[in-house]
């Protein structure tokens, strides 16, 4: 298994190299120029300023040279400087990624816990009213557009009921946390700041719910159908015939086998989160990587675009690797060579 993991990780280097070439090439194929996107209209009409700008950011060099310089710096651990923010890309990623990671983790916890629970209930009470309700919810999850759902949720829970704060990660009047991991919930626990913990949880609930709703729908549907299939198998009948309690049959025997495809769905769902992230971050004013990626793309900030792409590629690889390993844990028949 260890050899397998090491081999997968070594393949990641090749993957990242490929990603860097693709992103660099594609982003430079756009018929525009960072100077046009980042200089004011007056400055853009001044050849002296445009020339100085292009020289500063190396835009006056041939594309292959720009790429080699980028890769040379990358190998030294330097992801370059963002053209838009003027800050090292690594610093930008350090700032924005924890917010996204925290939101993704909470969204996945919500999706997995509620998804599996709903799927099990739905299967156990097949065709009963509870099943109908949960199926409706899960279909809504996979079919509702996240931006619309986010607006409705915000309007109802923040505007009408006033139960939750309307966006952001924390109340700026009360807290201004910096340092630590950047994951406010974790930091609050580590610092023993229970007020901050409560406040950060209050801020994360709605965006996590909206973001995880799609994946929750997928997991519910997948769990339900897998569990129904598993429950009709001989070994379940045998367990029941032996007089085993139904709850033990479901949770102890059937669910284990039913979960294998669910893990795949959950992994895919995690990757899908990044797609919905831009909208959710915008509506809930969540300062994460989604908005950073969007602004970098619209201003042709090449170093930032490459940095975000590499980070997302690494995240995908690690998540997929975790999923592959989880297969082996849940089903001992699966072994990696």
């Amino acid at each position: 298994m260890l050899r397998y993991i090491l081999r997968r990780l070594s393949l990641m280097v090749v993957l990242l190299f490929g990603v860097s070439i693709m992103v660099f090439a594609i982003s430079h194929m756009v018929p525009s120029n960072p100077a046009a996107a980042n200089l004011s209209q007056t400055a853009l009409n001044d050849p002296e300023i445009v020339a100085a700008y292009e020289a500063k950011w190396g835009l006056d060099k041939p594309l292959y040279e720009q790429y080699f310089i980028y890769m040379e710096n990358l190998l030294k651990g330097d992801m370059g400087t963002s053209i838009r923010t003027g800050r090292p890309v690594m610093d930008d990623l350090k700032q924005y990624f924890p917010a996204t990671l925290e939101l993704s983790i909470f969204a996945m916890i919500f999706a997995i816990v509620l998804g599996i629970l709903s799927g099990v209930l739905s299967a156990v009470f097949q065709n009963k009213p509870i099943d109908q309700v949960l199926r409706t919810v899960s279909v809504s999850g996979v079919s509702l557009p996240s931006f619309w759902f986010a607006l409705v949720v915000m309007s109802f829970f923040c505007g009408t009921l006033k139960w939750f704060p309307s966006g952001g990660r924390i109340d700026p009047r009360l807290f201004n946390p910096t340092g630590g991991t950047g994951l406010y919930v974790i930091d609050a626990i580590a610092w023993g700041e229970w007020g901050m913990l409560k406040d950060s949880l209050a801020h994360i609930v709605l965006p996590a719910l909206v973001l995880g709703f799609f994946t929750m729908g997928l997991i519910t549907r997948q769990t339900r159908s897998n569990l129904l299939e598993t429950m009709s198998m001989d070994y379940i009948r045998t367990a029941r015939a032996k007089g085993m309690k139904e709850s033990r049959v479901v949770w102890g025997h059937a669910l284990n086998n039913a979960l294998i495809p669910v893990i795949t769905v959950a992994g895919m769902g995690f990757c899908n989160l990044l797609g919905g992230m831009v909208f959710v971050e915008k509506i809930f004013s969540w300062p994460g990587i989604g908005q950073y990626a969007y602004l970098s793309a619209t201003t042709l900030d090449f170093p930032a675009i490459c940095g975000v792409s590499l980070l997302i590629a690494v995240t995908y690889v690690v998540v997929n690797l975790l999923i592959d390993i989880l297969y082996g844990v849940i089903d001992p028949r699966i072994r990696y060579q």
Partner: protein
Amino acid sequence: MKKNLLSILLVLVLAVGLLSGCSGSAGSTQGPSENTEQTDTQEEGAQTETPAEGGKTIVMGAQSDLVTLDPGNMYEPYANMISYAAYDMLYRVQSGTMGTPVPSVATGYTLDETNTVYTFTLRDDVVFASGNKLTSKDVAWSFNRVLNMKESNAYANMKIVDHVDTPDDYTVVVTLTEPDASFLVKLTSNAYCILDSEVVKEHGGSDTGGDTAKSWLDTTSAGSGPYIIESWTPKEQLVLKKNPNYWGEQKNIDTIILREMTSVDAQITALQNGEIDIALGLNSETAKQLEGVENVQIEKGVTAMLTFLVMSRDESLSPEMSNPLVQQAVRYALDYEGILTLGGEGCTIPLNFVQDGFAGAQMRDASYRDLDKAKELMKEAGYENGFTVTLTCANNNSEGTEWTVLAQKIQQDLAEINIDVQIETLETTLVYEKMRDASMPFYIMFWTPDYYDINNQFAFMPGMGDDGTAYGNRAKWDVSSENQAMWDLADKIFVEPDEDKRAEYSKELQELFDADNPFAFLLQHPKTYAYRTDTLESAPYNDLCKIQLCDLKAK
């Protein structure tokens, strides 16, 4: 099973490694926040202090797009809002005006007979937040710093300065490269912020090139304004604290927080709930949700933002649309009343490139539309039966007015004079690049001045090539014997120090301009915002610095 667990542990360690690599600074363990006391010394990326305990705190919600707090690099729409709070200039914009300069650190100035040498006398009681006295050396150092940052947007405003002399501690002599009647107005922009040179030099500042102080100036401020930048987490929040060493009248607000809120709906809800005190991201339509809400006041500020059509004079792009008669016909065919409705309450229609608030501004009557005259002009141009043209439109908006909606209105209006408008919608940066290449025959664009003076608006005058104007180049509209008279007037306005005379010349220029130009000016937009009246006395607006934080008064 043990091997599996070991493997999971290994991957989790990798994941945590990835996480820690992309999270806050390693080893920074300092805690959170709850209204603790200020700590002056701090490591980069480390915990800063938090909003003041017991003091008055005002929170603004906005989508600021701030990317730096270094006055030498700023140019974003909200840049001056912050620089005005943390820094001083020789002159500031007078509250409630579009761009009228009033003395700040300077007590006054004299101008020599060549109109190029300004001698400023400085106040002798100004101190920086650090406690250092502000002297002429700081002024010269700050100006020279920007003069040596040629790749910066701020440099565009500074390059009129040839050199700066400091005969004594409280006299600054600025020599311009050429006479410029707008120089005092330029002085009010962030490019001319006065930095505490001793402090900035300690953090990589240089007035001879190779300045590396930006990263430090992104975390704090080194000015003499009423507030100090205490912390900034981009796209999350910026905290300003009252400057205890401020040389002027102390403000009654201890902490101002700019909270980044990318959603207008979130800003509206937060204002209603009292989570924020000012919502800056509204427009005429969204503000209606706040009408009648208790303790909420909706305001409209005058901006210099223009939205207009560009009709290129390049025949190779469109022989029909490049015809000056057709361009005049387009101006007659537009339904300005309908366009005003689309823009929303508070919009106006400038006659041309001089906005309301600038010298000699002229407005167009909303009932200007004359379809008969437009058809006559089309006939005279030889296009009575019309033609087809592509109108390029970025997926952008001007203060909430979507360009795609404007494009549809224009399509509808021009159909009445047989112009078949095909709308092409592109990403904003692509439109900018095409605009720079002057490769579009017909497009919608917007404009916000870099400094609030008519001189900046000469970007719309004819002129091509390296010395050409921005929109002369973009519309392929060159200087000719027919339009030379416009430049004769513009040259007078450029150097004339008397504002009344400038206004007279400006009116004359606009009449000439209106008779022949490749533009159709559609709207001058208002800025709509709202604030809570239970926490604020007032929230004055100025288009240069948006909300004038120095003039905010808490209840």
